[in-house]
């Protein structure tokens, strides 16, 4: 069984209070303790955003010179040519691919080579079920349902910090996502302000109860309950260092008041609190656009605008931490090349994803997108998956987080990389 108690072994430490040189106080104390867990210094931070519902990669990043696509999508196809009446043009990235105009926030990052895009990414398993495809992508084993752990949980384990902090892996969701299933510690927190002992309208009662709980958990004979109890109260104290409700982002950033904006804002808070966060997870919904997905306006446009502006708000808020930060999006599959009868697209295969960070091989659309003629399509209908998602995820994890064990991170994966990261 994995021990997650490394820093607690030092005993009744007087923890908290940010210690020397940006290393949290508890770590300094832990090092000084008799059973030193080894100096834990947060390395880097990986933030993953799961776009649930399957994003239409061909609309997010359109191969706009492709006439097959144009023919297959009479009312959805967009062009980079300026001056089309009543329509914003695509942002021409490289003469072949155009970024959706509602993702204008991404353009400077792409030009500065901070943002990389992988097109034709997807799973080797050709299921077109949301559930199955998400399950496979999050477990990281595309042909095996019974895998007990998620890939991000395994990543947390491979970082080897022995559970030095309760906040090493955090999901901003109400319950733990499949990606974080597993034996390494990970916590789901929808709202940081709720992370406390609560008695509504009775602050003193809550304080007393909190004190009683702390005492009770301190004396229990169950090691698991005792240690976790300790961790919990220490975690509360960590969070109480800052008034989470009164958070002011830096650099005049304003987060969109959306679910994703709220999640990323709280991840930023955790990062700035220096609680040892290394792997974070957030979700974005509404990508299952079977009906009237729209072009430069409409459902899809609003979704990509939210995604890009939220990510950029996060990036700019954390300007001081950018060297340590990589943000990666993922989605379970792409959508049909042809539009359907209701102005939308159906479940397909390849999609695209975005990776933002200083170690990203940015300014490029990686991967292979062949002309979308019928013979090039998967099952005669979908953008073919030309890059295994595990290739990209493992490269990001390897280079950014310094994980070098693909056999554990993605068992049964051949290990081929395509160079989305510099390093």
């Amino acid at each position: 069984m994995v021990s997650r108690r490394g820093f607690l072994k030092a005993g009744g430490l007087a923890l908290f209070g940010i210690g020397l040189g940006g290393i949290p106080g508890f770590l300094a104390d832990a090092v000084a303790g008799t059973v030193a867990p080894g100096l834990f210094k947060r390395k880097k931070i990986l933030v993953c955003i799961f776009q649930r519902g399957a994003m239409d990669g061909l609309m997010a990043v359109t191969p706009f010179t492709d006439n097959f696509l144009k023919a297959a999508r009479p009312s959805l196809f967009m062009t980079a040519a300026k001056g089309a009446p009543n329509q914003k043009p695509l942002i021409d990235l490289d003469g072949k691919f155009g970024l959706h105009p509602s993702m204008a926030a991404f353009e400077p990052m792409f030009r500065e080579k901070r943002l990389g895009i992988v097109h034709g990414i997807g799973s080797p398993n050709n299921t077109r079920s949301h559930f199955d495809a998400q399950d496979f992508m999050e477990s990281g084993t595309p042909f095996k349902k019974g895998t007990t752990s998620g890939w991000l949980n395994r990543a947390v384990g491979l970082l080897g910090h022995d559970g030095a902090t309760p906040f090493q892996g955090v999901s901003l969701t109400s319950s733990l996502p499949r990606s974080f299933y597993g034996e390494n510690p990970a916590v789901a927190i929808k709202n940081l302000a709720d992370f406390n002992i609560q008695m509504r309208g009775n602050v003193n009662g809550a304080k007393m109860a909190s004190q009683s709980f702390e005492d009770l958990y301190d004396q229990t004979s169950s090691g698991l309950l005792k240690n976790t109890g300790k961790e919990s109260f220490e975690a509360i104290k960590m969070l109480q260092k800052t008034d989470v409700k009164a958070y002011k982002p830096e650099n005049n950033v304003v987060y969109p008041a959306t679910a994703l904006g709220n999640s990323l804002k709280q991840i930023a808070q955790l990062i700035k609190m220096d609680v040892g966060l290394e792997v974070a997870f957030a979700e974005s919904g509404g990508w299952d656009t079977h009906f009237n997905q729209g072009k430069d306006t409409g459902v899809f446009a609003r979704n990509v605008e939210d995604l890009s502006t939220c990510m950029m708000a996060f990036w700019n808020d954390l300007a001081r931490y950018q060297d340590d930060l990589t943000v990666m999006t993922m989605t379970e599959f792409g959508r049909t090349v042809a539009q359907n009868g209701t102005g939308g697209t159906d479940h397909g295969r390849g999609s695209c994803n975005f990776i933002l960070g200083h170690s990203v091989n940015g300014g490029l659309v990686h991967g292979v997108v062949n002309p979308l003629s019928k013979e090039n399509l998967e099952d005669g209908r979908d953008l073919a998956v030309t890059t295994d998602f595990r290739s990209v995820f493992s490269e990001v994890a390897d280079v950014h987080l310094g994980i070098n064990n693909d056999k554990i991170l993605f068992p049964d994966f051949d290990g081929k990389k395509i160079g989305v990261m510099r390093g």
């Binding site: 069984m1 299921t127 077109r128 079920s129 949301h130 559930f131 199955d132 095996k144 349902k145 019974g146 007990t148 309760p166 109400s174 319950s175 499949r178 299933y181 034996e183 510690p185 990970a186 916590v187 789901a188 992370f195 002992i197 609560q198 008695m199 509504r200 309208g201 009775n202 602050v203 003193n204 009662g205 809550a206 007393m208 109860a209 004190q211 009683s212 709980f213 005492d215 009770l216 958990y217 004396q219 229990t220 169950s222 698991l224 309950l225 976790t228 961790e231 919990s232 509360i236 079977h290 009906f291 009237n292 729209g294 409409g298 609003r302 209701t342 102005g343 479940h347 209908r381 979908d382």
Partner: protein, 660 residues
């Protein structure tokens, strides 16, 4: 003549004796007689009753430990293993949930999935296309609602809420506690999840018809029925799995239509079949073999990951199970194309071809791989049809690895997270000897000293569901809104019926206890005891026969014992005393509670408060803060009572109460 008559009688006598003897052997067989060695383990009858109840119920109700000790543990367990205690109170409560007894077809016709009706709502103009393009979610939602109302459809969420509610009410109030515990166990073992929309609507019937009636019986039956259930067929994709060498279409057509059909009729039918086939393939975007179920049935349902099967066994088993799929149900439910085929050719014609129709299950001969297969060294000759699948599952159910795997899982559930091999071996032996009779395996478990050892007592960590239920039962709470408890259980880290992976929830303390979930357990205790969970009420005074404890300390001791009978609580009480003896803090809490009660009148207007206001025992009111401040004696009492809720909350959230 005479001697032949004598021989005849003799043979009858011998025959009867043989029958008697065999039934006698059965009756006194080691596996079926309950003889629990708790005294040898040094436990009193009360202590043993407390342990037994902690494992085989969702928590002892006040006084239940004494009751069971009095009636005899063996008798109580015998009744529980029958699982047919009268449940009138519960049944009354459940009558208001009209959807929980619906068949899958009724569910399909009442609670359709949104994607399958959204298109109709648009086509029929309930959802305005233009506003849809503008992303007007409100219009979309309202349009959909109007369409559903006009067609008598109801939102699926309503079905699920009823489903959650029945689970909570059964756990809290059923007299057949062990049956509910085992239902939970087997559901988790054969997990399906509401996350997967394709199977979600069939999950309530799955638990009700497949799991609950079979929890004590024959493992093989449970396995076979889950394999054939729509929920499992969809959850693990077997419904889509088809073989490569399906019989030639034209031959089967001849057989189905008979020799009298004209060539033109045959041609039309052929074209129709072809179209159906194409559509089906397009829809799935894939055809052919799907190994998901075949793999998990070995890895998770029977033999276990180290049970000794290979990838080839998985593939071959998947081939055996091709064609195991779902019968068409409902007006707009699954299987429209197949329904047309059945309507056209008739069930009996199809049955002659090897099709099998069994309720919601269908064996589709046209999708079955008819070749020879070898699984675990056992040969399934070509042409085995439906029967070879049944044979395969029986083989898996009786495999030695299965006996071990299931026994260990039961021991993990009921003894501790790492049960001793000696115990698992005994249980596995019974499993094999009885062909997988679950009741016998359970009896072997409780007859073993390992079940009563100090490594078992209080060694399991309650799941969030178990915590919530044991609190509700221990406090005799009244649940009017079970869904409120569902959301709390979710917050504590167990989103019931939504465990995405087919493994089911892990069954160990390490999984349930982490920083976030532990805090929520504490908050749950406080919220429950201070009556801040809407629709869940308690009467703390009644728990102590409306006797007011003499002092704060007495309250602590009394209520700790009521909530956690037969536990060593000295340390818990010692740790909580300082909280009660700080008059300053007490006063602050009381004042804050008063203020809050005044500000939020309704939830504060609790059963307990009302009892207090009624002035029972001539004591002053809790509801009047001024009086409390004016009268030192009353202040003491009232402080105690306000404190009581808080003390109880802390007890529920305490480490001792997280264990069972």
């Amino acid at each position: 003549m005479k001697s032949s008559v004598r021989n005849f009688y003799w043979s009858i006598i011998l025959f009867c004796a043989a029958i008697l003897l065999s039934s006698f052997v059965r009756f006194v067989g080691p596996a079926s007689k309950i003889a629990m060695p708790y005294k040898k383990a040094g436990l009193t009858t009360e202590q043993a009753a407390a342990h037994l109840l902690s494992r085989f119920t969702y928590g002892a109700k006040p006084g239940q430990v004494q009751e069971v000790a009095k009636m005899g543990l063996e008798k109580w367990l015998t009744e529980q293993l029958k699982g047919d205690e009268k449940d009138n109170t519960l049944d009354d409560m459940l009558t208001k949930f009209d959807a929980i007894n619906m068949s899958n077809t009724e569910v399909e016709n009442t609670f359709p999935r949104t994607p399958s009706i959204r298109k109709f709502a648009i086509d029929e103009g309930y959802i305005n296309k233009d506003s849809l393009a503008k992303g007007d979610r409100k219009n979309e939602r309202e349009g959909l609602e109007a369409y559903m109302k006009a067609n008598g459809y109801r939102p699926q969420q309503e079905l699920f809420r009823q489903f959650f509610s029945q689970k909570i009410l059964r756990a809290a109030y059923s007299e057949n506690q062990l049956r509910e515990i085992m239902t939970d166990f087997w559901f988790n073992h054969f997990n399906v999840a509401l996350n997967k929309p394709q199977c979600a609507a069939y999950v309530p019937a799955y638990e009700r018809d497949i799991i609950r009636p079979n929890v004590f019986g024959d493992f093989q039956k449970l396995l076979l029925q889950t394999a054939k259930s729509p929920a499992m067929l969809l959850y693990l994709d077997n419904f889509t799995s088809s073989g490569n060498n399906v019989p030639a279409q034209d031959q089967s057509m001849d057989m189905m239509m008979g020799a009298n059909a004209t060539p033109a009729q045959k041609k039309r039918a052929m074209e129709r079949m072809e179209k159906v086939k194409q559509q089906a393939q397009q829809k799935k975007g894939q055809g052919g073999l799907n190994e998901n179920y075949a793999r998990e049935v070995m890895e998770l349902h029977t033999m276990g990951v180290d049970g000794g099967y290979t990838q080839s066994d998985v593939t071959q088993a998947a081939r055996v199970l091709t064609g195991w799929t779902i019968a068409p149900m409902g007006k707009i439910g699954y299987g429209g194309a197949v329904k047309k085929m059945i309507d056209r050719f008739g069930e009996s014609n199809l049955q002659q071809k090897g099709f099998v129709f069994d309720g919601d299950f269908m064996f589709n001969m046209n999708r079955h791989d008819n070749g020879e297969k070898v699984v675990l060294g056992h040969k399934f000759p070509a042409g085995g049809g439906y029967d070879e699948g049944v044979e395969l599952l029986k083989m898996l159910a009786h495999h030695a690895s299965t006996a071990k795997f299931i026994s260990k899982k039961l021991a993990v559930r009921f003894v501790n997270d790492t049960p001793p091999t000696s115990l698992v071996d005994k249980m596995a032996k019974t499993f094999s000897a009885t062909n997988g009779d679950i009741k016998s395996v359970l009896i072997t478990m409780v007859n073993s000293p390992e079940f009563w050892s100090k490594d078992a007592l209080r060694e399991k960590t309650k799941s969030p569901f178990e915590l919530a239920m044991s609190a509700v039962r221990g406090l005799d709470a009244k649940i009017d809104r079970p869904y409120e408890l569902y959301t709390w259980i979710n917050k504590m880290g167990q989103q019931m019926y939504y465990y995405q992976a087919p493994t089911g929830f892990p069954d160990n303390g390490q999984y349930w206890i982490n920083t976030g979930s532990l805090l929520n357990r504490m908050n749950f205790g406080l919220a429950l005891a201070t009556q801040r969970i809407p629709g869940v009420s308690l009467n703390l005074a009644a728990l102590n026969n409306n006797k007011e404890p003499e002092s704060a300390e007495a309250a602590l001791v009394t209520y700790s014992k009521i909530i956690m009978p037969e536990r060593e609580l000295t340390e818990t009480v010692a740790r909580l005393k300082p909280m009660l003896n700080d008059p300053n803090l007490q006063h602050k809490v009381a004042t804050a509670a008063e203020k809050n009660n005044a500000a939020v009148p309704k939830p504060a207007d609790t059963t307990m408060d009302m009892d207090m206001k009624a002035g029972r025992n001539g004591k002053a009111t809790l509801g009047d803060g001024r009086k409390i401040n004016q009268d030192p004696v009353i202040k003491q009492k009232a402080g105690t009572n306000t404190m009581l809720a808080q003390v109880v909350g802390v007890i529920i959230g305490s480490p001792e109460f997280q264990r069972k």
